[in-house]
Amino acid sequence: MHRFRYLLALLLAGFMGAAVAQNVTLRALFMQQAAYSDSDVRSMTADFEAQHPGVKVDVEFVSYEALHNKIITAAAAGGGGYDVVLFDVIWPAEFAQNHVLRDITGDLPQSMIDQVVPGAWTTVTYDGHYYGIPWILDTKYLFYNKDMLAKAGITAPPKTWQELLDQAKAIKDAGIVQYPIVWSWGQAEAIVCDYTTLLSAFGGSFFDNGQPAFNSGGGLEALQFMRTSLDEGLSNPASTESLEEDVRRIFSSGQAAFALNWTYMYNLANDPKESQVAGQVEVAPAPGDGVHSQISAVNGSMGLGITTGSNHPTEALQYIQYLTSQAVQEKYAKLSLPIWKASYDNPAVAQGQESLIAAAKQSLGVMYPRPLLIQYPQFSTWLQTDIHRALLSQTTPKEALDNTAKQVVQDKLD
């Protein structure tokens, strides 16, 4: 009995202690891949903690491929999960429908909304509601090794995708590099990003009045282009097992003249500690097909949201407002570009990365979305598999895309 009383007293003391000290600990989930590096995120967080005494943030990093399922399992497990999560542009429909993220529409003043690059908000909205604040404003750019181009007698980067193949062939024939182009075509979301870029360049669309439209027109041309570049030995066959980091390593080791990748590669590929081709790397918007488009881009942005299970939504909102603030984003603008319109005319942001800013000004305006589906992960998995089958010559591009379209109709995906 004595022991019981002692325990009770201890518990009471514990509760009172918690009530007296107002320390709040937030748990935040980020990714360890592309965009801001984990050391960037940690130092932003340390600055935030210094400015907000009593608030502590535990940050956690996972690979992009694990991010979706980590958020979902934490939500399914109930309380005690994450307060703040980084989420991709393709998930708001699913997350809103399943009440994973808080609707923060009321917390965002119109004045703030107006100051952000217009396309950025599509990253966090579903059905007219805002489920977070855009943070990583990103798309895929065409990176090229200007020394290799010069050696092959090429003076300007390609203006069309066909010209890219022509230039790649010239570089290959000159014996400068065996496989001039490298892509992130491993079986993952990354291949859908590249496919979307090409689909938009060739004037295609994913759905037309709710019916699959990617298996004809621009969508089909996009996949045929991918297959051709592999068949002709212009794209590195290692592309079909590569993710973005593999692309960066291959390009940075001087084994490719062209690569499609996110913003973060520009400064890393030009950093002598990370790259053997530092100083040779230039960036341009991904080309168009010359008929439907002059340039092309995919919306690969990501936002920060607050989970519905969070017990500290006020502090969580302060934290994501801090991370997405103009001052913080401009300070860390080397690996990810700010969401704020004004930042793109700030000389301090452009300094040392003028060509990246020039490319961003063009590309960010034409970012093409991947389809807005509640069951997007299912759609993406089918599409990845079928694109792969076509690239690996197991089937024709037409049959491959028809197969995905058939499954979408059969399962009545929404």
Binding site: A76, G186, A238, T240
Partner: protein, 312 residues
């Protein structure tokens, strides 16, 4: 019932108390086992029956609205070309890795059973791959296979065995075989250790006698060694088969099911279905079908064990 007096000598009013005492005694083992039973029931039993229950529902992971679909999830699985393909991939991995592990394990065990300088050291080295976590092993082999900066391509091109680089994990069919090699490198040592232990129980005199009778090397292996290590082999076979049919981590790290879904196994399908597509009901059904497949294998092995197992 030792210690209970003869019923006749017991006065009528004492009978209930004695019966109660007997009942108490009978319940002692159960009381002793209760904590263990509660733990096993909670940790194994509840999830098992809960999963079985869920497999009869259309159960979204993030919603409490469930609709009963009877055997619908199972029927859907059998009609799904994806499921059938994943069964084939799982069997490919299982048969390939178990076959190689048994052959390699026995060969290495026979070698290490001979006396030579450094034998003890090499025996100790057998433990090393086993001590390596699967994820670390998978990352290591992913780097070895990397087409551009991997050790395998470097070795094969520098020795002029290959003319140009190959994409080991980017080619359907080949990718699964390369994963099998990575798995065998780590797990053949378990077979080798078990067989090595069994080899040391076989008396040398049997071999000597056979040699006197004029038996050759193969005959001695076939009629003396093999019967001697059969029980150990069966144990290794059962352990490794169950593990191989459930394979997930090495695939998740090395290929994530690619290229063209050619390395997707049943566990990966269950994982995708539950956590990527949020379909808990059909994921549960797939999980149970995986268990059924494992039971088929285990059933065959148990028959093998019973018919000629320990007796050799």
């Amino acid at each position: 019932m030792a210690g209970v007096p003869e019923p006749v000598t017991v006065p009528a009013r004492r009978a209930p108390r004695l019966l109660a005492r007997a009942a108490r005694r009978a319940s002692v083992p159960w009381l002793m086992l209760l904590p263990a039973l509660a733990v096993v029931g909670g940790v194994v039993g509840y999830p098992f029956f809960r999963t079985l229950y869920l497999s009869f529902f259309n159960a979204p992971l993030l919603s409490h609205v469930r609709t009963a679909v009877g055997l619908g999830n199972y029927l859907h699985a059998f009609q799904s070309a994806e499921f059938r393909a994943d069964v084939v991939h799982t069997l490919h991995f299982t048969v390939g890795s178990i076959g190689l592990e048994l052959v390699l394990g026995v060969a290495v065990a026979l070698f290490l059973n001979r006396p030579f300088v450094g034998q003890r050291f090499l025996r100790a080295m057998l433990i090393l791959p086993l001590a390596l976590p699967t994820v670390v092993n998978a990352v290591m082999w992913r780097w070895i296979y990397n087409p551009e900066y991997g050790a395998l391509n470097a070795l094969l091109t520098q020795t002029h065995i290959l003319g140009s680089y190959r994409t080991w994990l980017g080619t359907p069919g080949l990718a699964m075989n390369m994963i099998i090699v990575a798995d065998v490198w780590k797990n053949f040592t378990l077979v080798a250790l078990l067989v090595l232990a069994a080899l040391q129980t076989i008396p040398v005199e049997l071999h000597d006698a056979a040699r006197v009778d004029g038996a050759g090397g193969w005959q001695r292996f076939r009629f003396i060694t093999l019967p001697g290590i059969r029980p150990a082999l069966l144990v290794a076979l059962v352990l490794r088969t169950v593990e191989a049919l459930k394979v997930f981590d090495i695939i998740y790290v090395m290929t994530r099911g690619g290229p063209a879904s050619s390395t997707k196994t049943l566990s990966f399908l269950v994982y995708d279905e539950a956590f990527s597509f949020l379909k808990l009901g059909s994921a549960a059904a797939y999980a149970f079908l995986t268990v059924a497949l494992i039971m088929v294998f285990v059933g065959v092995y148990i028959r093998l064990l019973q018919s000629r197992g320990v007796a050799g």
